[in-house]
Subunit: 350 residues, 2 copies
DNA sequence: CTAGTGTGTGGGAGCGCTCCCACGAGGCAT
DNA sequence: ATGCCTCGTGGGAGCGCTCCCACACACTAG
């Protein structure tokens, strides 16, 4: 026995000495197959064997080696959250945070890993394409898709389970979760109409993004229903940024100095609009009522606090994750599309 | 040859038919070893072989199988960004976004994957501990550490390369990247002193967090240097939240109605303080000057816009990632500690 | 001539798991 | 008794890579 002690570090010590399936099997007095069955929840295991294995696992602190499992199953047990970030939106809007929270919450008691991939440049986009084509994730969650983004098309082609937040167009073939943008916008404009406003302008987001289009459509629909539609001078185009909101507001005031309300397709743009209105000497909401969209943190801090359309962002994140998990686990994948209701949060600005 | 066509799907089709090392080797007319050497940039390859391999890789669209590599090297080529999220900070502050951006930017031309792990509950914390102990990532980036958080201690024990943003205490043993919180606070208070303020209060963050302590220390230091230190009535404790800021401000006004300035350890708390000051009929900055910390998006939208101490958050993210990559790749790991300068952004509130 | 040194290469072994085949034990009908 | 299920089980094969040993070949030195 004594010579065993002087034997140099044997094979058992390799790799930090973390226990393997085989070690568990040995301790439990069963074969590798049985341990594997216990871990993967197969019903074909006797109670006696199961208990022995579970105890051995606890005793050794065994954790399965993910790479080994991936190698044989070619499942990776991880999904990617892809955020194209050509705009600076990520830093200014809590949107992504809430999505991340929702997704993460839904994944919490799965053993799915969440990979975060920001895409800034075309070079990074190419890398991502290679990455996805190599099937290094089981599924993809994608945020803030522009209509001309090539990634969703790629996802379709390589048959990668994926869920978008927001659709690219009205007939999005991929699964998606979206807020009822049109409905929210319509609700906001109706609120302005009830207040007695009649010359209601809008500041839109970039119209190559479906949410921006849908919000514009909701705005138009509400006005048409009230018999007030058709005045294109009341539509100011912007890009979801604060400075864009400022410029669009200046344009609107130039074209239609008599406007009495503005529906902005984002809070950030509404904040810009408020600045311009103040500079122009208009009181909010007495002269011009203002409504934003997103109900983000800045809505509570503008002067006056902003009435805004709230989207259930965290729930959208949770739903995305849920849909993706279903799509990943199922054989015959049905694409799913979910639209969640929005809600008007009334504050002082309208 | 004709019978080959009716052979059922053979082994070559398995796993979606993605090409393997072996396929590349066959096409290039070399052995597996040589292909592996080319991929891993070994110098011991002839130019002829290298070219043949590179062409074969391009032709087949070969991408190495990460799991297979991980299995043998026990490197995972991925790092985790851990965000404890007991507070609601994640949703309200762009801090995390900017950190994420910085980290992601630094990782962009590495082939490191970024795993995002939010920790809400103790159960999730335990899962994380198991996860980390199983060495499923090469390194850990950790944000927003409370002094009593058990995770950093675990990281130390299992000798996991890791970098914190912000230290737990003055003698943090792990690597970290921090902003010069004390310096920034001192700068802010000096600015108030230069304005002629003499009864300068502060609203602190939770004092179990080092940044909160450091900002308080900077505040005290500036006052001492001006011979104005020692008045504990001027210190209001809060917790980095808006409502906390409101309550602390009320307390301060109650104790010291004559105060003429407040340095708040976060913008969110400053926003709360501003509300209370307005309700109390104090003008900002004429009666009471206010300075925040973080220069977050809300600083630009409060009324009046908030003078605030800016931290280079995105750069902190980049630096964290860089330090971690060094720590992961090096053998003898030296812990590194970097403190980045802060900057005062002057707006209307002080 | 032999011995020695180095450089590029091929391929065996093996990482830790899952999949699947084969096998023994027990139950039930014939 | 024999046949034929089913159920639980053990363990071989193999996933795609890296590591490393052995070997061929080309030199240079003795």
């Amino acid at each position: 026995m004594s010579h065993a002690a002087q034997r140099p570090a044997g094979p058992a010590v390799r790799g930090g000495g973390r226990p393997t399936l085989e070690a568990v099997a040995a301790l439990a007095g069963v074969g590798r197959g049985t341990v594997s069955r216990v871990i993967n929840g197969s019903p074909r295991v006797s109670d006696r064997a199961r208990e022995a294995v579970e105890q051995a696992i606890a005793e050794l602190g065994y954790v399965p080696n993910r790479a080994a499992r991936t190698l044989v199953t070619s499942r990776t047990d991880s999904i990617a959250l892809v955020i194209p970030e050509t705009e600076t939106r990520l830093s200014s809007e809590p949107f992504f945070n809430d999505i991340i929270r929702g997704v993460s919450a839904e994944l919490a008691d799965t053993d799915m890993q969440l990979l975060l991939i920001l895409v800034r440049t075309d070079k990074e986009r190419d890398r991502l394409a290679t990455y996805l084509a190599a099937h290094r994730v089981d599924g993809v969650l994608m945020v803030s898709v522009h209509e001309d983004d090539p990634i969703p098309g790629l996802l379709e082609r390589i048959d990668m389970p994926s869920v978008l937040v927001g659709r690219r167009s009205e007939l999005e073939p991929l699964s998606y979760v979206d807020a009822d943008n049109a409905g929210g916008a319509r609700m906001a404009v109706r609120h302005l109409l009830r207040r007695g406003c009649t010359r209601i302008a809008t500041v839109t987001g970039p119209l190559d993004m479906e949410p921006a289009r849908a919000r514009l459509a909701g705005y138009r629909k509400a006005l048409e229903e009230a018999g007030l539609g058709g005045d294109e001078d009341l539509v100011g185009r912007a890009d979801f940024t604060e400075s864009g909101g400022r410029e669009a507001m200046r344009g609107l005031l130039g074209r239609r100095p008599d406007l009495d309300a503005v529906f902005c397709a984002s809070d950030v743009m509404a904040a810009g609009a408020l600045q311009v209105l103040r500079e122009a000497g208009r009181r909010v909401p007495e002269d011009v009522a203002v409504i934003g969209f997103d109900d983000s943190i800045i809505a509570r801090h503008t002067d006056p606090p902003l009435t805004s359309v709230r989207q259930p962002i965290e729930e959208m994140g949770r739903t995305m994750a849920r849909l993706l998990l279903e799509e990943v686990s199922e054989e015959g994948r049905a694409r799913r599309q979910v639209v969640l209701a929005t809600e008007l949060v009334v504050r002082a600005s309208a």
